[in-house]
């Protein structure tokens, strides 16, 4: 087996046994990056020197008791890394170098993780395809003519093509789970407040979460253990104790009650192949002794609108800080006054989709329309949360497709924002409710991976990891990546 194909767990075993060194592992992955990047384009910044340097010092410490020590990873480019460019894949921050680490990065550094670089994303995490990046489009490792999904497409593609052992992404409306699904890897969106958001450029502060993208469920549990927990720098982070996720991975799901929201599984946007793969997964759970029943999330049809309004309104406020005054892009053309300065700086610095959302959001959150749109969206949110609460009174978990279809072609349907957003239906409803959810491979359609989403109760990450683990133990979808991908 090639080193870059290792999982966190395997690599850690070899490092512990001194069969490999962190430097060897890092070098191998850097070579893999050299080999793949011209076709995949998963990265926007690669820090060879930094990665090798920390691999060397980790080897010198020779302490691999922490499963992440010496393991090379990458982070989405909206997660701030000290002294390493963090651009949000926008012209606005093209040369921005943060003087601080995001909390998730500091936590990983403390564990001697090796940071390889920063991965491509939709500009400011707005999008579902990684096509709106200022730099380039990332290709799906399963089919180079297709998108990897978004907005954490670079992270998902990097994991799927073995250009890192694991990656971090951000998930505001499905941006970890959707690309994980398109790229045939595991992506977890934790409960809102489970993982610190400090140092991650905000998109919609009430929905943003940081989550791991990994090669299998075990690795996902390992990374989540490292990044979860209360952070004094993030007032919205929760003080609920962090479970021992790894210990709870047991192949025993007998008697668990699983609900299948019919509004999501039988939605017209869900393709036949995807539906079949999910139904097949349900069969697997039934065989393992779970009780699976169809249920109704009766207000699911309003979720997409509520999500879009919330996203646009919050994003328009969050993105105001990029004004060219203190840092970032500043117009080089002449301007007449302050207003003209802002117009030119922001007009030139932001791409189309970002501007589309800012303008929509500005309108939606204006004093005049606030009650009509933003407040109404928040009311729908409360109703949807209640629907989930009801469902979780009866069921331990809910299962849906992660995405209605498999990865679409690059350039396809990107001129229709609403249709693009329908791809996010099953995932974004989870962000509205703030719940944890995982996506893992559950089948294939015409050679492209299909994702299964498991939604849990708030802070029951241990539960969804266990349910996901049980499924993974009973098929080989997660290992086909190595055999069937294009690169």
């Amino acid at each position: 087996m090639k080193l870059h194909e290792l999982t966190i767990k395997k690599a850690n075993e070899l490092l512990k046994k001194k069969e490999i060194t962190a430097q060897e592992l890092t070098e191998d992955i850097l070579n893999r990056i050299d080999e793949c990047e011209s076709k995949i384009g998963a990265y926007v910044t690669i820090d060879k020197e930094g990665a090798l340097k920390s691999a060397k010092s980790t080897d010198e410490k020779a302490d691999f008791t922490d499963p992440l020590a010496g393991i090379p990873m990458s982070a989405k480019d909206n997660i701030c890394t000290k002294n390493l460019k963090t651009t949000c894949c926008s012209r606005m921050l093209e040369n921005f170098v943060p003087p601080y680490d995001a909390t998730v990065i500091s936590k990983l550094r403390e564990r001697n993780a090796i940071i390889l670089g920063k991965t491509n994303m939709d500009e400011f995490a707005i999008g579902s395809s990684t096509q709106t990046s200022f730099f380039h489009t990332t290709q799906n490792p399963w089919d180079l003519s297709r998108v990897p999904g978004g907005s954490s497409g670079g992270s998902a593609a990097a994991v799927a093509s073995d250009e890192c052992i694991y990656a971090l992404g951000s998930d505001t409306g499905g941006s970890v789970r959707q690309p994980a699904s398109y790229c045939g890897v595991v992506g977890l969106k934790p409960t809102y407040g489970r993982v610190s958001r400090f140092g991650v450029a905000s998109l919609a502060a009430t929905m943003d979460t940081i989550g791991p993208i990994t090669k299998n469920v075990t690795d996902c549990a390992i990374v989540l253990s490292a990044i979860a927990g209360q952070d004094s720098f993030d007032p919205t982070s929760s003080d609920i104790p962090v479970d021992n996720y790894l210990q709870k991975l047991k192949n025993d799901v007998k008697g668990l009650k699983i609900g299948i929201p019919k509004e999501l599984l039988y939605h017209e946007a869900v393709s036949k192949d995807v539906k079949d793969a999910v139904l097949n997964a349900i069969k697997v759970y039934e065989d393992l002794g779970c009780i699976c029943e169809e249920i109704s999330l009766k207000n699911a049809e309003y979720a997409m609108s509520a999500y879009l309004v919330t996203l646009a309104a919050e994003a328009s406020s969050e993105l105001g800080q990029y004004d060219g005054i203190r840092y970032g892009y500043r117009t080089s053309s002449d301007y007449q006054d302050l207003k003209d300065f802002y117009k030119k700086t922001r007009g030139e610095g932001f791409g189309f989709d970002v501007k589309w959302h800012i303008i929509l959001g500005t309108y939606l959150s204006d004093e005049k329309y606030y009650d009509k749109y933003y407040l109404k969206a928040q009311k729908i949110r409360t109703i949807i949360k209640k629907d989930f609460d009801e469902a979780f009174k009866k069921y331990d978990f809910l299962i849906t497709p992660t995405t209605p279809t498999t990865a679409f072609k690059i350039g396809e349907s990107s001129d229709d924002p609403f249709k693009m957003h329908m791809n996010d239906l099953c995932v974004s409803i989870v962000n509205l409710a703030g719940l944890p959810a995982i996506s893992l491979p559950c089948g294939f359609s015409k050679g492209l991976p299909v994702g299964l989403q498991i939604i849990g109760k708030a802070f029951d990450e241990a539960g969804i990891l266990q349910v996901a683990y049980a499924f993974e133990q009973n098929n080989d979808y997660h290992t086909r990546r190595i055999k069937e991908r294009m690169v």
Partner: protein, 474 residues
């Protein structure tokens, strides 16, 4: 037609907590530009606000001192707008659910007690400062002030004149200084005031169109701006015009208000990164227990307890430090009115002359009391005491020491004074004759001569009686 002014004030007060409202940066005044800044106050990607608990404490204290109801649940919102000194393009403020409501400040225009209502009082962060380059085509930006904790106090439109507004601001400032939440220095920007003013026909209940005046740099400017606006708006109305609802700024040099901008709408949205502010009854009571006696209560007490005239009491209690100084002196000296006289006259004089503040006083209440006792004991005369007082003010030395050093002890020796008196009588036969002819003035001239002879040290009562006796004998 006669018009009546309807005036409301919006006052921003900087709280002097040690650190900023949402980060650990120092609030020190006049530091080098951009030295008290961090990713949070600079609005950098991913930076999140962290609530400073002492800001909530200070603000609650202010709310209680202003007789407000404190909300047990309040929340922060964002006010979204673009300006270079506003790093995040939104200001974190309280809009939908503020910390405090329904308070009042008492004023006494023309000796009549009146309450000016406080509609709301909320917490917010300050913006940075733009420093415009003289004659240049660019501006400097200092973000030390960005994130400084403020409270905004919005009054009801209860004031009817510049005088009432001035009294309200003065009392507001005194209260906030008393409870030690702010130094309220208008000149240094730690207290800032916007005026809302409209005119209506006298007797009308309806409000006229409101004009906002911003950028008031002193109490005097507030007064002048109101007077200017009253006249400007009256002139327009009397000529059949209508008032535009606009924002104007005060130009100190020209003494006029100038159009700044028309009415615009604001964008508010809940601040998602901060938890709601929950204030328990215990916490509130604890804060309430730390509120010292407020100026109006203290004033009434001084009148009752020390028998001071209302005027003295209001001047002495206008400053907490002065009031404390006074009360401390009372402990060491029996006559509160005499202490008040010395403070009202001599102390105020030297403070005015030197421009120093009460808090810089070098001498102690005990020393002042000792000096007054020396007068009573006849060791120094009242006149000499004035010199002693000035020396105490300058050096902080004990009065006994000053008297000794400068040889100021009063001459109370009967024989010595009689000798001097005799000499003066001998040298001034004209005055003696005038006195005999009933001219009382001549007596004081002779007393003056004796004082001159003794360099003011002669015991005045003794001089009087000795002179009277000697003149009678002639």
């Amino acid at each position: 037609m006669k018009y009546e002014s309807v005036i409301g004030l919006e006052v921003h007060v900087e709280l002097f907590t040690k650190t900023k409202i949402f980060c650990g940066c120092s609030t020190e005044f006049a530091a080098d530009p951009n030295t008290h800044c961090c990713p949070i106050c600079l609005g950098m990607p991913g930076a999140l606000p962290l609530m400073n608990k002492s800001v909530v404490e200070f603000a609650t204290k202010a709310g209680l001192a202003l007789n407000c109801q404190i909300a047990d649940f309040s929340r922060f919102d964002r006010k979204n707008y673009f300006y270079p000194d506003l790093p995040k393009a939104y200001q974190i403020s309280q809009f939908y659910i503020p910390l405090a409501r329904n308070g009042y400040v008492e004023i006494e225009p023309n000796g009549q007690k009146k309450r000016v209502g406080i509609r709301i009082m909320h917490m917010e962060e300050d913006a940075g400062k733009l420093v415009h380059e003289e004659g240049g085509s660019y501006s400097h930006l200092d973000l030390n002030r960005a994130g400084m904790p403020l409270i905004e106090i919005v009054s009801e439109p209860d004031m009817r004149s510049a005088e009432e507004a001035w009294l309200y601001l003065n009392n507001l400032r005194t209260i906030l200084q008393y409870i030690e939440v702010s130094d309220c220095k208008i000149e240094e920007g730690s207290m800032r005031c916007d005026i809302n003013i409209s005119l209506r026909p006298e007797g009308s209940e309806q409000l006229g169109t409101r004009v906002e005046v911003k950028n008031l740099g002193s109490l005097r400017a507030v007064r002048r701006a109101i007077e200017f606006e009253e006249k400007r708006q009256r002139d327009i109305l009397e000529n059949g015009g209508t008032i535009d609802g606009e924002t104007r700024r005060w130009d100190e040099a020209q003494g006029i208000t100038i159009f700044m901008r028309g009415k615009g709408s604001n964008r508010y949205s809940p601040e998602p990164n901060l938890s709601p502010i929950i204030i328990s009854d215990e916490w509130k009571e604890d804060i309430r227990n730390h509120i010292p006696e407020l100026p109006n209560v203290k004033k009434e007490r001084f009148i009752k307890e020390y028998g001071l005239p209302e005027y003295d009491a209001s001047i002495i209690t206008a400053s907490k430090i002065l009031a404390n100084f006074y009360e401390e002196t009372v402990k060491y000296y029996h006559d509160p009115k005499i202490i008040s006289n010395w403070i009202m006259v001599e102390l105020m004089n030297v403070l005015n002359e030197t421009g120093e503040g009460i808090k810089d006083l070098k001498f102690t209440p005990k020393q002042l009391a000792d000096m007054l006792i020396m007068i009573d004991k006849g060791i120094i005369s009242g006149k000499i005491a004035k010199d002693v007082f000035r020396e105490m003010f300058k050096t902080g030395k004990n009065p006994e020491e000053i008297v000794k050093e400068k040889n100021l002890i009063q001459i109370s020796d009967e024989a010595e004074l009689e000798n001097i008196a005799k000499k003066v009588i001998e040298n001034n036969p004209k005055s003696v004759e005038d006195y005999k002819n009933g001219k009382e003035k001549a007596m004081s001239f002779l007393v003056g001569q004796i004082m001159k002879e003794t360099k003011g040290k002669a015991n005045p009562q003794m001089v009087n009686s000795i002179l009277t006796r000697l003149l009678k004998e002639i």
